[in-house]
C-alpha cells in the first residue's frame, strides 16, 4: 500500500506543478489569441462586406 501512496503523492505534486506553469502560459497566451481572433474575424467580415458592395456595383 505504501508504494501506491508514494505513486499518488508524486502524481499529485507533479500534476499540480505542471498545471500551475501551464495555467500561467495559457492565461497570458490565450488573452493575446483572443485579440488576434477578434481582429481576424473583423477583417474577414469587412472583406466580405466590401466584396458584396463591389458585386452590387458591378451588377448595376
Amino acid at each position: 500500500m505504501s508504494d501506491w501512496i508514494t505513486i499518488w503523492s508524486i502524481l499529485l505534486a507533479g500534476g499540480i506543478g505542471i498545471y500551475v506553469v501551464m495555467a500561467i502560459f495559457v492565461a497570458i497566451g490565450g488573452a493575446k489569441d483572443i485579440r488576434k481572433l477578434f481582429r481576424s474575424m473583423d477583417k474577414k467580415k469587412r472583406d466580405k462586406e466590401k466584396n458584396l458592395e463591389a458585386h452590387k456595383q458591378f451588377r448595376r
Partner: protein, 512 residues
C-alpha cells in the same frame, strides 16, 4: 447534509452576479462577428493554440466534471486517481500520433456524422446524427441536477424553489449568449472560466491540505476504504474491468470521439495546432480529474471528524452510503466550509461559469448536429445559412427546456460519472468502430457501419433505472459498456466482410 453552516455571504452573491452578467455581455458583444455557419459553429476556424487549449480545458473542466470527479474521489479514495492518469496520457499520445483527430481536421468536417456521410454515405450520417444527438442530450440530462446540488450545498440555499429559480436563471443566461455568439462566445467564456477555475481550485487544494494535513487524508482513506482506497486493481474497489472502461471512456473517447472535443479540433487553425492542442490539453485532461478527486478525498477526511456529517455519509458498518445525491453534495459542502468569504464567491462564480460553459458547448454541439447532420441532409442539402442559424438557435432553446424537465424526474441511482459514461456510450461505442475502422481500414463498409451504430445502443442497459425496469439483476455499467464496444467493433468487421461496399468489392475483383 444537515446542520452545516456555509461561509457563502452577500459579498459572494455580488461577485457571482457580476461575473455571470459579464459572460452574457461577452456573448452579446461577439455576435457582431458572426456572418455564417462556420463562424457560428467553429469560430471561423481561426482559433490559435493557447486559446484552443484554454477553451478545450475550460469546456472539459465543467462543474459537472468537477462534481462527478470529486464524487469518485469521495467514494473511491486515491484509487480514483487512475482515471486522471488515463485521461492525461491518452490525449498526449493523440497529440504525438494525430490518431483520429488529424485525419478529421484534414477532411475539414465540423461534426462526426459529417465524416460518416463522406465515408459511408448520407444514410449513415443521418442515423449516426440522430443517435449522437439522443445520446448527447441524455448525457447532459443530469447536468442541472448536479448544478442544483452544488448551488444548494455551497450557498446554503435550502428552499427548493430558490434553487430552481437559480438554475432556471442560469440556463436562461446560457441560452442568451450561446444563441447570440455561437462558438466565438463559447470560446471566450471558456477562457475566462479556465483562468478563474484553475486558480480557484488550486487555491482550494492548498487550503484543504493546510487545514487537514496529508497524513490525515491518507489515514481517513485507509480507515474507510482500506487497501482498495489506494490500489485501483483491488477487486473490492474499482478492479481491472473498470480501469479498462475508464481507459476507453475517460481516455480515448473523451479526447478523440466525443463531439465537443472534435469540435475544438475542427476549430483549430491548422493540423499543427490540433497536435499542439492535444499535447498541451493532456495536462488539463489530467487535472480535470485529479484536482476534484483530491478535493473529494479531502471532503471525506474533513467530514469523518464531524459526527453529524459522519452519521449521514457512512452506514453503521463504516462504509459509504449508497446515495448518489449525498456523496455528490459532500464536495460543495466542503468548499462552503473551508473557503473564506470573497474567495468562495470567486470559486463559486468560476464553478457556475463552468456549469454555463459546459452547457453552452454541449447545447451548441447537439443543436449543430441535429441541423447539419439530420435536418439538412433530409432536405437534400438545401437550406439557407439564415434558416440554419435560426433552426440551431431554436433547437438550443428546445433542448434547454427538455433538460429542465429530465433533471427533475429521472432517478439517478448510480454515481454521476457512471451515468455520464454509459449514456454517452449509446453513441460512442458505435462511433469508435466507425471512426477507427473507417479511417484506418479501407474495407469498412456501410452495412458494417449501420450494425456498429445499432450495437452501441446496447449500452442503454447500463443505466440503473433501465436495468430495474426490464428486471435485470445489477450488472456493472463498465461490463455493459465494454460489451457494447466489443459488439460494435465485431459487427463492424463482420458486416464489412459479408457486405462490402460496391466500390470496394469492384476494387477487390480488379485486384484479383
Amino acid at each position: 447534509m444537515t446542520g452545516l453552516e456555509t461561509n457563502f455571504s452577500g459579498v459572494d452573491w455580488v461577485i457571482v452576479g457580476c461575473y455571470l452578467l459579464g459572460t452574457v455581455a461577452v456573448g452579446l458583444y461577439v455576435n457582431r462577428f458572426i456572418s455564417n455557419m462556420a463562424d457560428y459553429v467553429v469560430a471561423g476556424r481561426a482559433v490559435r493554440t493557447w486559446l484552443a487549449v484554454a477553451s478545450m480545458t475550460g469546456s472539459e473542466l465543467g462543474l459537472v466534471t468537477v462534481m462527478y470527479a470529486a464524487q469518485k474521489g469521495f467514494t473511491g479514495g486515491f484509487s480514483a486517481f487512475h482515471i486522471a492518469v488515463v485521461a492525461g496520457i491518452v490525449p498526449l499520445l493523440v497529440g504525438f500520433t494525430g490518431f483520429i483527430v488529424v485525419p478529421l481536421r484534414k477532411l475539414g468536417v465540423m461534426t462526426i456524422p459529417q465524416y460518416y456521410g463522406l465515408r459511408f454515405g448520407q444514410g449513415v450520417r443521418i442515423y449516426g446524427g440522430i443517435l449522437l444527438a439522443v445520446a448527447g442530450v441524455l448525457n447532459m440530462g443530469m447536468f442541472l441536477k448536479a448544478g442544483a446540488i452544488f448551488v444548494t450545498a455551497l450557498t446554503g440555499l435550502n428552499d427548493p424553489m430558490q434553487v430552481n429559480l437559480v438554475m432556471t436563471a442560469l440556463i436562461i443566461l446560457v441560452l442568451i449568449y450561446t444563441t447570440m455568439g455561437g462558438m466565438v462566445s463559447v470560446i471566450i467564456t471558456d477562457y475566462l472560466q479556465f483562468v478563474v477555475l484553475s486558480f480557484g481550485l488550486l487555491l482550494a487544494c492548498g487550503l484543504a491540505v493546510s487545514e487537514l494535513g496529508w497524513d490525515n487524508l491518507v489515514g481517513a482513506v485507509e480507515q474507510i476504504h482500506g487497501e482498495s482506497g489506494f490500489n485501483p486493481t483491488h477487486e473490492d474497489g474499482f478492479g481491472i474491468s473498470y480501469m479498462a472502461w475508464m481507459l476507453l471512456t475517460a481516455g480515448l473517447v473523451s479526447s478523440t470521439i466525443w463531439q465537443t472535443a472534435v469540435m475544438r479540433a475542427s476549430s483549430a487553425e491548422s493540423e499543427e495546432v490540433v497536435r499542439n492542442l492535444y499535447k498541451w490539453s493532456s495536462v488539463g485532461f489530467l487535472i480535470r480529474f485529479l484536482l476534484p478527486q483530491f478535493l473529494g478525498i479531502c471532503a471525506l477526511a474533513y467530514f469523518m471528524d464531524i459526527p453529524e456529517a459522519r452519521s449521514e455519509l457512512l452506514t453503521p458498518d463504516g462504509s459509504i452510503v449508497d446515495s448518489s445525491e449525498l456523496t455528490m453534495s459532500a464536495f460543495p459542502h466542503f468548499l462552503g466550509q473551508i473557503l473564506p468569504v470573497g474567495i468562495i464567491g470567486i470559486v463559486g462564480a468560476g464553478m457556475l461559469a463552468a456549469f454555463m460553459s459546459t452547457h453552452d458547448s454541449y447545447l451548441l454541439c447537439w443543436a449543430s448536429v441535429i441541423v447539419e447532420d439530420v435536418i439538412v441532409p433530409l432536405r437534400g442539402g438545401e437550406m439557407s445559412t439564415r434558416s440554419r442559424l435560426l433552426l440551431a438557435r431554436l433547437l438550443i432553446v428546445l433542448i434547454g427546456v427538455f433538460l429542465l424537465i429530465w433533471s427533475l424526474w429521472y432517478p439517478l441511482g448510480q454515481d454521476l460519472l457512471d451515468y455520464m459514461m454509459i449514456s454517452g456510450a449509446i453513441y460512442f461505442t458505435g462511433a469508435l468502430a466507425l471512426l477507427v475502422l473507417g479511417i484506418y481500414w479501407k474495407r469498412a463498409s456501410r452495412v458494417g457501419a449501420y450494425l456498429a451504430l445499432t450495437a452501441g445502443g446496447l449500452a442503454v442497459f447500463g443505466l440503473t433505472p433501465i436495468q430495474k425496469a426490464v428486471g435485470l439483476k445489477k450488472i456493472e455499467a463498465d461490463h455493459i459498456g465494454l460489451c457494447a464496444a466489443g459488439a460494435a467493433l465485431a459487427l463492424m468487421v463482420i458486416g464489412s466482410l459479408l457486405f462490402p461496399d460496391k466500390e470496394t468489392a469492384k476494387q477487390g475483383e480488379a485486384d484479383e
